[in-house]
Symmetry: D2
Subunit: 301 residues, 4 copies
């Protein structure tokens, strides 16, 4: 198929490469000349404006957005709207909040345009191993995109699927990330306890290696964790500072809205907040409270 | 009544003073000459050995231990055993683990000695406001000590009681402290959110003052918290480092043993651990995992 | 002062009564004739429409809304708008989300109308004990209402205050409720552990009574909890079903938005969700997972 | 090698079968005649007493215990002691608490006997896929058992290793299970949120299938979870009742002892407690508290 890729960053460029290898004809757009050159080197065409991109594609057009969620996605959606024609389809492959997706899809539907949300997992490994894709949209629209998904996925019939109407793809991807937070935190806590049990002198990389084969906790995340422990067993030079990227808090938002208890996913997110607050007011206040009622000494800064 | 007080630290000395004011005749023991002088100034006698203390008291003797839990309590219990006579009673007013209390009481019962556990709350304010006392022991033994408890309590019939057999006093005090951890954490989190809502420019001390009268969250802990916020609104110079003293983790142990879910008390304890770990291995590992799968940059130390 | 009270339910009627007792002249409005009669019995006037209420008050008018948050508040705000004149003031004494308050206040400001948010705590006890009030709004507007607040508060200078600009009152009240959730959960967990320690045969009401005097955990909530344990020691006939009313989840929302870790408040909310889900899909799935990897038997429904 | 297997239940019998297939000569012991017959059918010998087992093996003997942790392991360890001779080795392949292992190993060392702890993961799938084994013990003793571990493991050099001195194997396995609890809970929460988002009509089995390939959350536990969702998409007939087996709470114990924050593992355990308490006293008390301060209706049982 022919497809226009909007956004040629780390994720977008990898996808272009995998699609080109799969025999598709990709034209990419990115404001950065370097990014454009990189995909040209991989055999794709690249243009320097959305208008040029739309012009370069045969009707009905298929465009894949791989841009940061939020304002940039909104700007792109708005800029494309007047350029497109009835029957064209835009796929949002990024990490958009599903509520934004519902809003954008409604706008596009009013103009006879297809809108598909594709929650994409796989990170930097997707180029080689394929992407896991949770797709929301009208059945016929998604079906027409089958060749694209079959190429991006790890295998033709594996790792992708239409999970429901538009919005459901991003919703499912959001929950995927919530689970990811919980799993990561579980491993981190476990390895941390092992680390603190100093009298056993455990080699955490070795423990991870053992667990990778035959254990109940084997997983791809464990493979990566073990790899990280091999490269840097004591995490030298790494700050205890963990970023979160939005999908975790949206998962908690969803739990709150649906009145579902999700303590582990929620705590995993809050531990990340805590990691970035090295001057916790709450903890200072607690120390002062102890001093007030018990006369316990306050540790000074 | 006549009573021997073992341990004339902050808590023990205050108790001696309150008991003397209540008309009791107290003889204190502490290895520190300064500590002995302090209670003598308050009108009590003081001696420099356990043997002298036992000798100074009329039979049947009543001894109150107010010493640190663990080894010092065990040493005191062991040292007293050969000095005492059938009918004497020892009260452990400290923060002992109730399982240790059960063990010690069994030993004393084998020698015809009374053993009473008195979980004591009130901290440095107890001298003025009276102590809340949760008491475990045989009914008759506890009843014989009534004049002591009536004086130490905030009022004759308030703030004290025999809650059950020996061990139950310390168990109940332990749970008291678990609840205390949870309440403290709840306030700390709430004030922390207020603090971070910078656009409202809230005065946390003022908010605490308002809540002290008529609100659902009014409490003695809030009174103290508000006082701390008045003295030091921004917690200047206070390290975000919160000590825990054993009773919190014993409460969690009890929850685990009884298979009772106690998430808030447990989390409150673990937040204290977290406050003291400013170089969290778990968080470093999480940051490295994110780099592994997503190529996300690691913040350097 | 003269004041119009909109909403004569449990809270509104109590406030009318307290204000009348304080020498203010109150005219109430409620669509229910019974509710109107009740406040008339307390010496207040009552009318059957917002228009009549506005007409009954001298300019500049002061109106206090004590209605359910959400749609009813919005409807009232909208209905009042055309009836009011420059210089009039509306106070929202209910549990509105502070974001809604900001929106409504903006609308009113555009029409030269005062808008004040008053987070009100105290529940059904406020009539007798006074209300704790966290107030947001322009300084002059709030100052003009001083006589009202001094009467509703527990004492003239206690339990109320302007904490900041409009919205800050409801924000502060929201956090108050978040703390309340955490405190309640801490007590509930503690008493639950005591309950499950069957060999000590503890009397939970007695324990609560002891803690009420001199202990670190003494509070008004403990007073009420002890009262509940006296009336119904084993909670006979009470379903383990805990309602939440919006302010808890808004507090968690605020924590998420501000990236503040608030594990105890959050867990307290989620425990309430869990209490209302007696057929947990998560737990069924966990049981099935155990069967899958370990061959462990599944408990049947 | 020749090896005596003590305990021919689900795990022990599977291990015998895998070892026989690997060319080892196994003699099994179990008090149950049926269990003995089953391993005889797989080509192993079987005897009906520990004494007969010890007699059947050539010196230095190697015995593998695969029995329930706690009393039965202690009984077996005690019964074997007088039967064994200097140079013999006992391996505890079960889920013993590492503190018990340290105690037992000390006793055996005093008698010149080898004692090795092997934390074994893999469940009912180990027969086919091999077991993940974390081994503690003296280097030479463990090295001598290499042929056994190479056969039981998924591959000769994969999925097993000596992680440290005696006790460290069971400690590491305990943490493995703690992580397992956290991962399971993360998946369960995620699928539960998906389930409650009814308007998207998601097929949870399909979502699991998609995630199995290429996603960040792919794992063996996800494979099993997806399988469970295929067999029983709505978990019909499954009670929301989740058992825990000791290792989770020991992990929390270890976190407490080492003062390490492990909120997610801990909460995962407590959620299991909660799942088994369908008449929560804590929740009843919370409902009653709400009634006390707010006059909110109590839901009746």
């Amino acid at each position: 198929m022919e497809l226009g890729m909007i956004g040629l960053g780390k994720m977008g460029a990898n996808m272009v490469e995998r699609l080109q290898q799969g025999g598709h004809k990709i034209t990419g757009f990115d404001p950065s000349a370097d990014a454009r050159k990189a995909v040209q080197a991989a055999g794709a065409d690249a243009v320097d404006s959305l208008a040029a991109l739309v012009k370069a594609l045969p009707a009905p057009r298929v465009l894949w957005m791989m841009v940061p969620s939020g304002k940039i996605t909104d700007d792109t959606v708005d800029a494309l709207l007047p350029l497109l024609a009835r029957g064209d389809t835009v796929i949002d492959g990024g990490n958009s909040n599903y509520k934004d997706t519902l809003r954008r899809a409604k706008l596009y539907a009013e103009h006879g345009l297809g809108y598909v949300d594709c929650g994409t997992s796989g990170g930097v490994w997707g180029l080689k191993e394929g992407y896991s894709m949770m797709i929301g949209g009208d059945e016929q629209v998604v079906e027409a995109l089958r060749p694209i998904f079959e190429t991006l996925a790890p295998a033709k019939e594996q790792g992708w699927g239409r999970v429901g109407p538009v919005g459901s793809g991003h919703f499912t991807k959001m929950i995927h990330n919530g689970i990811e937070y919980g799993m990561m935190q579980a491993y981190a806590e476990g390895f941390s306890i092992l680390k603190h049990k100093r009298d056993f002198g455990l080699d955490l990389h070795q423990v991870g290696e053992i667990w990778r084969y035959g254990s109940v906790v084997r997983s791809w995340l464990l493979d990566l964790t073990t790899d990280a422990l091999e490269k840097n067993p004591n995490m030298d030079g790494v700050a205890p500072y963990v970023v979160d990227s939005g999908e975790g808090r949206w998962t908690v938002d969803a739990a709150l809205e649906l009145s579902v208890s999700a303590p582990v996913i929620t705590l995993s997110l809050m531990e990340r907040y805590r990691s970035r607050d090295d001057d916790s007011f709450a903890d200072k206040l607690l120390s002062s409270m102890r001093n007030e009622f018990g006369g316990h000494a306050i540790k000074k800064e």
